[in-house]
């Protein structure tokens, strides 16, 4: 088991190195930092001097190594757009994205899993059919359009909830939270629903198909043949077996939620990392793009590692090896 974890950590490190390479290539070759710092009117002598000052004349691997070292220390240089250290901007924007994403993940799991179980156990019940029909609508609605419709409905027509922004925030150390004020909570509702809707329907459909598949297995049939209560067959025997695919999917979905947060944050002008990234893409703010890429990859890698560890908790076949 320890060997497995070590190998997974090494793999994750490898993925991060590859991502670092892409970010570095972005930084140094796409962005052309000299041009960005001096502007087009600089003389070629000025360019050459800055080139050397920045160490851009050193061998590729040395520069790459240097980039990795700086990235590990959180040093991604200055944002072109804001002329401030990228890491400061990221730290400022991080709480908004984390709070929004966690709220959405929680909603998606808390609603998606029970609906998936229900539709998997009673596939032909009228309510299950309605849910399946709605779920198809759910995965067909583009996230941004869901957001727009919700804004029109609840912010413009009904005027119940704010159409954009994060409301009032309270600082807890360096973390600014919107969860402690009424306006912050109200501002969270629409973006969180928007972000969770697509994921929730996806989770529901996946839990359903895992459940349907497991209800057809021999061991469920044998459990029924032993006269076990149907509640136990469904919620003990079948549910535990659906956990393996569900954990996998949830891990992947959390990655998706971070990605779709970009869209949701744009629609609701939510001051998080996603909005920062989109603005950086539009502005050509390479240091911010590179930092976002590294940061998001780090989250994905961490989530994947966590998923692998959860497998160990769920599945004894991995814990003890073959018999």
């Amino acid at each position: 088991m320890i060997g497995f974890i070590v190998s997974r950590i090494l793999q994750s490190a490898l993925v991060m190195l590859v991502v670092g390479l892409i970010a570095f290539a972005l930084f140094n070759y796409v962005g052309d930092p000299v041009n960005n710092m001096l502007g087009p009117s600089a003389t070629s002598a000025e360019r050459a001097r800055l080139h050397a000052e920045l160490g851009l004349d050193r061998p590729f691997l040395v520069q790459y190594g240097d980039f990795i070292v700086r990235a590990v220390q959180g040093n991604f240089g200055l944002s072109y757009q804001y002329a401030r250290p990228v890491i400061d901007i990221v730290a400022e924007r991080l709480p908004a994205t984390v709070e929004l994403s966690l709220a959405a993940v929680f909603l998606a799991l808390a609603l998606g899993i029970p609906m998936g179980i229900y539709t998997g156990i009673r596939p032909s019940a009228p309510l299950a059919r309605v849910l399946m029909g709605l779920s198809l609508v759910g995965i067909s609605l583009p996230t941004f359009f869901t957001g727009i419709v919700l804004i029109v409905l609840f912010a413009i027509v009904l005027k119940w909830l704010p159409p954009f922004g994060r409301g009032e925030v309270v600082a807890v150390g360096w973390w600014s939270t919107g969860l402690l004020t009424l306006s912050g909570l109200k501002a969270l509702i629409l973006p969180a629903i928007t972000l969770c809707l697509f994921q929730m329907t996806l989770i529901m459909r996946l839990v359903r198909s895992a459940m349907l598949e497991i209800m057809r297995t021999d061991y469920i049939r044998f459990a029924m043949a032993r006269g076990l209560r149907m509640s136990s067959v469904h919620f003990r025997h079948a549910l535990k077996n659906t956990l393996v695919p569900v954990v996998t999917i949830t891990g992947l979905q959390m990655g998706s939620i971070i990605a779709f947060a970009v869209i949701t944050e744009t629609v609701f002008q939510w001051p998080g990392l996603g909005l920062l990234f989109i603005q950086a893409l539009g502005f050509g703010d390479i240091p911010v793009m590179a930092a976002y890429l590294v940061f998001v990859s780090l989250m994905f890698v961490a989530i994947n590692l966590l998923v692998d560890l959860l497998y160990f908790v769920i599945d004894p076949r991995l814990r003890t090896g073959g018999g």
């Binding site: 044998f222 043949a225 032993r226 209560r229 136990s232 077996n241 599945d315 004894p316 076949r317 073959g322």
Partner: protein
Amino acid sequence: MANPVLVVEKLRIEFPQRRRTLVAVDDVSFAIERGEVVGVVGESGAGKSLTGAAIIGLLRAPGRIAAGRIWIDGRRVDNLDPAAMRRVRGRVVGAIFQDPMTSLNPLFTVGQQLVETIRTHLPLDRAAARDRAVALLAEVGIPAPGQRFDQYPHQFSGGMRQRVVIALALCAEPKLIIADEPTTALDVSIQAQIVALLKRLCQDHGTAVMLVTHDMGVIAETADRVAVMYTGRIVELGRVAEVIGTPRHPYAAGLMASIPTIDRRQERLFQIDGAMPPLAAIPAGCPFHPRCPRAIARCREERPDLARAGAHLVACWLPLGPPS
């Protein structure tokens, strides 16, 4: 011989399809006495496993019991509601399935599965249920049952898993066990052990067995009586020794002749020409007539019912006579 543990009367199982309804089992009637082992043989698709599934109330949709009645331990079960049938399963009638590798839930220990089954049916507390589970594991021949109790199914070999499956089926002392091909998925060297174990346990506990298999050898070793099925019907039913020694139905005769024996030297094993027709294409008259060497005009037109011929019941217009 009053009060048999299982009575099946004119059972008919149908599969509604798009344009027609397939009849998978038709007009099947038999009984199993207390403590008796009855074998059901036939090719795959003959309806033997479906009959077993119908008895324990686990027919897979869209299959359904279209006609007939079933009594287990004197109680009519074919019309029970799901909750009541659930209490019959495991308590009065147990089941053993073909593949021990897939019959056990991989995420629960063997002990958890045993204790849950015991406590579902018997009023025992956790400790008593555990004691009973360990005793059962010992009884089915699992060494060091106290340690094995806390292990997961993947830590057991195939033969050991089938022993666990048998222990699970016997948890609540059912009066009847439906064993559906219990040895088919096992290594040949282990098959005999499992058959012997099943037979001994059922003798000890007075449990009757309906042994569904396509292996005449297993039947010959284990069963008291045997029913031979073909295209969803019983074509011959009688004591094992008599059916093997003097089969009356030409299909049963072919089946018996295909058993390899040590004392009978043969150039090659006997083989019945042709194959069992699919359910959608069962011929009129006797369903066996296209393959039957003795078929007469009547066989092509009228379907024979099960009728007494000597000591067995046979569904044939021209049963084979006893050897002269």
